[in-house]
Symmetry: C2
Subunit: 407 residues, 2 copies
């Protein structure tokens, strides 16, 4: 590895970033309002939900990222501001303006993100009172508390930071995320905020982050539902003093690797925190004609309720995996497919070769499936493309959590 | 209605059809081998799974339906003959030949369907011994027993027959189906066999049946998984003596309505029998730009684990329904969407209008959701197309049934 993990690192580990979080009253007791702020002008990019019922903050943030120099993100948890119509948009604009005033910025420099209940109006009095307090609370140590402030039903905060050197300068990348997928009513939103002090070319950053999101956040699946509020934002403040990184920078790969590591960690942390989940599942698909095929294949296996319940039951039911591969949309010849099951201890059993079951040891499979990390490795002989995705199993608690009445 | 329900009717209610079923030993005790037979030459059509890992019997039946005059269907339950490679194809061909011999037909006149465990070779000695016995057992009263012989984990047989008059002649349409979706390992297959004594034009029958399958079997969803063995077959024997029905026949609509009724009943019966299901859910989508959009919208809502668990918990969580609508792929403007929740007693509560929640009575919603049939009605103002689909809720028992080890 060409990067170093920063113990306890988070979104304010890169120089120039501050965070402030407060309890404004949207949630009953915990912090529910967070500002992430860059002291330096940024190069910024973001990826938003494809859901047609995108929430008001998503609609506004899409406009924000049409321009450059995004300097802050205002996040509230507890209320998604989705299905709130024109009033929701007006309210969101008011919070954006209030944050801009408090931070001495222009409104279009403040991105928004919300997560929580759908269909309820934002409690504007609480938010408008809380925003100046959150601005007041900004500090370079604020990253850890901010990671808790963006949580809804998450059982733990999701943070990471790494450092690497570019042109002999220390470059830091940090981040925080929330989301626990198998989750309480209307709160299945995934949010991610990544920061870096690297100096980066805007077009390069946009392209690279899009690719990394496709391989990380877009390759995790808990229940296949895409929220109205999903948002991932990357702010690059540029204070590290390195030469601007673009595709031709000699250390571009190093930066990309570190950026990938932070985002992959945050994405997998979300799946791990899936409520009701007892096992993390990693699916690797190799030998497909296109990257899109390889991704579809991995996601179909990870999304299958039949596969998820089988893994929960520690049942090496490869028939369900092949079945989901079959309807994934990926092109393959079943007579060329191999499938192996493995775990976090690197124990492996191959169960299928050229589309036919091998005479494998069922006891060995049962042993492999006892682990908390289950790996499914599928190879087709349709090409050179591969993909990796993460999901979780499906337990009684998923039904319990999601079947209980909203409260 | 322009048709009459035949009490206790099934696939051998139309004149000229016989069925025979026996216990060959694939399953431990119950019937597991069924022949459905037409005494008259048929006009026939079929729809098969899109799964790329299609089982051997599906591959062979696809060829059978390239020709006309399909006279019999050989069905075995307990073994899917899927993921069995060249050996599986050879075995399936042998059963087809054996059935042809026993019925004095050509092999290409015998279609095949299998349902059961994936990846195990067919127990050929048992099947080859059982086929002549099933042929021997053929009778016009055999339809009811046959409907039980094709079952796997189904809790009840699924049959229906209706009669109508075409050109003053009594025309009968009957059928049987199996499938319970939320189901034991590897047995999620849906099979449907529909018969009629109507005289029908081949091209008309193919087109009409395809449309009806799209509106019935393809609009039911239990867990979103498409099996390796899904098969629906329609045989028309023509002995009723009516003038050949095609698109221009003056009573075409009457025939179509009756055919639709039988297939819709069989399809909905499958969803109702979903293991672990406690409620049937019907989703109606109206006002979409295209039929495809309306169908995608209904299926996304019915497929959402979050919606399914909410209905199980009797929670009118419309936010999850709008969220799934948003990622369905259907085009709509959220500001034009209305949503109502209803039940089998025709009690209704509208919860959303023009994309915004109404000030509805939560107690009324709770009352509506106590019923065993829950209706979700969604209207967009994007066009004139509509669709209807059926699903079921998601209970603890789904996890229990599907998480237990294969045995």
């Amino acid at each position: 590895m060409t990067y170093t993990l920063i113990p306890g690192g988070n979104a304010t580990s890169p120089t120039g970033f501050k965070a402030g979080s407060v309890h404004s009253g949207v949630k009953s007791s915990k912090d529910d309002l967070v500002i992430l702020y860059s002291e330096y002008p940024t190069v910024a990019t973001a990826v938003f939900t494809q859901n047609l019922a995108a929430a008001a903050p998503v609609q506004i943030s899409r406009e924000v990222f049409q321009q450059q120099d995004v300097r802050a993100v205002l996040v509230n948890s507890g209320n998604a501001n989705a299905c709130t119509g024109h009033k929701g948009l007006e309210d969101a604009h008011l919070t954006q303006q209030k944050a801009a005033e408090a931070l001495n910025l222009k409104p279009h420099q403040v991105a928004l993100a919300s997560t929580g209940v759908i269909g309820l109006p934002l409690p504007m009095d609480k938010l408008l009172a809380g925003i100046p307090m959150a601005a007041e609370a900004l500090s370079i140590e604020g990253g850890a508390k901010a990671a808790e402030g963006i949580m809804t039903t998450d059982t733990n905060p999701k943070v990471m930071a790494v450092a690497t050197s570019i042109n002999g300068k220390i470059v830091t990348i940090g981040g925080m995320a929330k989301g626990s997928g198998m989750i309480n009513p209307n709160m299945a939103t995934m949010l991610g905020f990544v920061t870096t002090d690297a100096a980066v070319d805007p077009a390069y950053l946009k392209k690279t982050f899009k690719e990394i999101v496709a391989d990380t956040y877009n390759m995790i699946t808990v229940d296949g539902d895409t929220s109205t509020n999903d948002t991932v934002i990357l702010l690059a403040g540029g204070s590290a003093g390195n030469e601007i990184i673009d595709e031709n920078h000699p250390e571009e790969a190093k930066f990309r690797e570190a950026l990938m590591a932070v985002n992959q960690h945050l994405a997998v942390s979300i799946v791990k925190d899936g409520e009701g989940a007892t096992k993390l599942i990693e699916a690797v698909t190799e030998g497909f004609a296109t990257k899109a095929d390889a991704r579809m294949a991995a996601k179909a296996v990870l999304n299958s309720n039949l596969v998820k319940t089988a893994i929960f039951g520690e049942d090496g039911n490869w028939g369900r995996m092949i079945c989901s591969l079959g309807y994934s949309g990926a092109a393959f010849d079943l007579n060329q497919v191999a499938l192996s099951l493995g775990n976090g201890q690197d124990q492996w059993v191959q169960v299928l070769e050229k589309g036919l079951p091998l005479d494998y040891d069922e006891d060995k499979v049962a042993e492999v499936l006892k682990d908390k990390l289950i790996k499914i490795h599928i190879t087709a002989a349709a090409g050179e493309a591969s993909a990796r995705g993460w999901g979780c199993d499906f337990s009684y608690d998923y039904v319990k959590i999601n079947g209980s009445y909203r409260s």
